[in-house]
């Protein structure tokens, strides 16, 4: 796989090099020049993905607890809440948060700024929350119901059963889909560029604008693609391994 991605990248560089006019710096030199800047942008993407994953998971678990509630008046609203955020496009949710939240909050202790990258994080955390809650529910439901009954007969109350018996067993099953979701989220952080957050894709566009050479377009976008690939592919491989390990042989 690594071989193929290097091949792909080398091909686009060679192609661009062939089109470079004489007297201009080479494609690889230009790439090397901008790499530190782009790498900062990429780290920013990773930071956004980590923050929104944390935020989304936290709220997702809470929503998931509502989802498995046996009271209809709790479960139904939670269900529709989850469906709305799960079925709306991520980009639309980002627009939602971007345009409909203020850029700063006034509190008695002074104004708290609310920069656009935090908005992007919140915007991405919303669909993550909905998906995590479904993963949580799926994990809990996949356990045999006898576990609940056994816990009840041992005198555990509802929350104790959930915390001490159900969740520790279900966490194993939730892990692979959760990691999948993280990989999807990491890729979705590039959506923030549409809304003007200075992450790697925005920077790439700016760099390309500054260089103003059309033959650079392919190697630069290819370069970003390869980076994301190198970050996400190991996660995908590891997820697959976990899935295989936890799967019940059928």
């Amino acid at each position: 796989m690594l071989f193929f991605s290097i091949l792909f990248f080398a091909g686009s560089v060679a192609f661009a090099q062939a089109q470079t006019a004489a007297g201009e710096p080479g494609v690889l030199a230009t790439l090397a020049k901008w790499t530190p800047l782009l790498f900062h942008g990429f780290l920013f993407n990773i930071a956004i993905s980590v923050f929104s994953m944390a935020l989304g998971s936290l709220f997702g678990v809470v929503l998931g607890i509502f989802l498995i509630s046996r009271r209809v008046q709790v479960e139904r609203p939670a269900y529709w809440f989850m469906q709305i955020f799960r079925n709306a496009p991520w980009l639309v949710l980002m627009f939602f948060v971007m345009y409909l939240t203020p850029f700063q909050f006034h509190t008695p202790f002074g104004t708290i700024p609310f920069p656009d990258w935090i908005k992007a994080t919140v915007g991405l955390a919303l669909p993550v929350m909905a998906n995590v809650s479904e993963i949580f529910r799926g994990g809990v439901v996949s356990l045999p119901y006898t576990q609940w009954e056994a816990a009840q007969s041992l005198g555990f109350d509802y929350l104790q059963t959930l915390r001490l018996i159900i969740v520790p067993q279900a966490v194993k099953r939730m892990l692979p889909p959760w990691m999948n979701l993280y990989a999807i989220l990491t890729q979705s952080t590039t959506l923030a560029s549409i809304l003007g957050v200075t992450e790697v894709l925005t920077l790439t566009r700016n760099v390309l604008g500054a260089e103003g050479r059309t033959e650079l377009l392919m190697p630069f976008y290819g370069y970003v693609l390869v980076w994301f690939f190198l970050y996400c592919y190991p996660i995908a491989v590891y997820t697959k391994r976990l899935e295989r390990r936890f799967s019940v042989a059928s």
């Binding site: 496009p89 959506l191 894709l201």
Partner: protein, 217 residues
């Protein structure tokens, strides 16, 4: 607004059809004897699955599109293919990669003996794929396939980034004219949810139609 909605529907239909086709052909090619073909398909699937669709879209539109352009007499570049084409192509390739993966896992779930039985009955490889393996794999992979299609319908909103006049783009034009962001936002959400509901409903219908008696719940 209505045009935007039409464009979204059109994009969805085209990309669903194309990505399903890619999935079928891809999984067929995964079964060939030639190792290099299998490796190329695997590379394609892994690459498109593990890179952001937005960057793929930019790559196609900004990097590949200028290569396929003609110069008019005044020296301006005229792309041969418009942004709608590039959006459909890139989204189809993105979703197609997932479809290959879904159908492959479906085929792997079929017991090997089925294929052996088909062979012993004198089916050729193509025949057993078309008549036996794929119909079974499709049924097994149907829930995951539905998921992927729903995801694809939502991903069409990315075409906004290259100014394809779909739902989100049309709405953003309207709210920059009318300054009615909250109303438009709610409208977009409802529109997408209706669209997704239709897709899910249609897929459930197909699922019921294709049910194998005696299997599942």
């Amino acid at each position: 607004m209505l045009h935007g909605f039409e464009m979204t529907v059109w994009l969805s239909i085209v990309t669903i059809a194309a990505s399903t086709l890619i999935g079928v052909i891809g999984v067929w090619l995964l079964g060939t004897r030639w190792r290099i073909v299998r490796q190329i398909i695997t590379a394609y699937v892994q690459f498109f699955r593990n890179t952001p669709p937005l960057v793929q879209l930019y790559f196609f539109f900004f990097a590949l599109s200028p290569l396929l352009s003609t110069h008019s007499a005044d020296g301006l570049r005229h792309p041969l293919l418009n942004n709608v084409f590039w959006a459909s192509l890139s989204l189809s390739l993105f979703a197609g990669a997932f479809n290959v993966e879904i159908f492959r896992s479906g085929i792997e779930a079929i017991p090997r003996t089925t294929l052996e039985a088909a062979e012993s009955l004198g089916f050729s490889r193509l025949q057993s794929f078309v008549r036996i393996m794929f119909p079974l794999a499709f049924r097994i992979g149907l829930p995951a396939f539905t998921n992927n299609i729903v995801n694809l319908v939502k991903t069409t909103s990315l075409a906004y980034a290259i100014a394809v006049p779909e739902l989100l783009y049309a709405s953003s034009q309207i709210w920059s004219d009318e300054l009615n962001v909250p109303e438009m936002m709610v409208f977009i959400l409802i529109a997408y949810i209706i669209l997704v509901a239709i897709v899910v409903w249609a897929m459930e219908l197909i699922e019921k139609r294709l049910r194998i008696p005696g299997y599942g719940l």
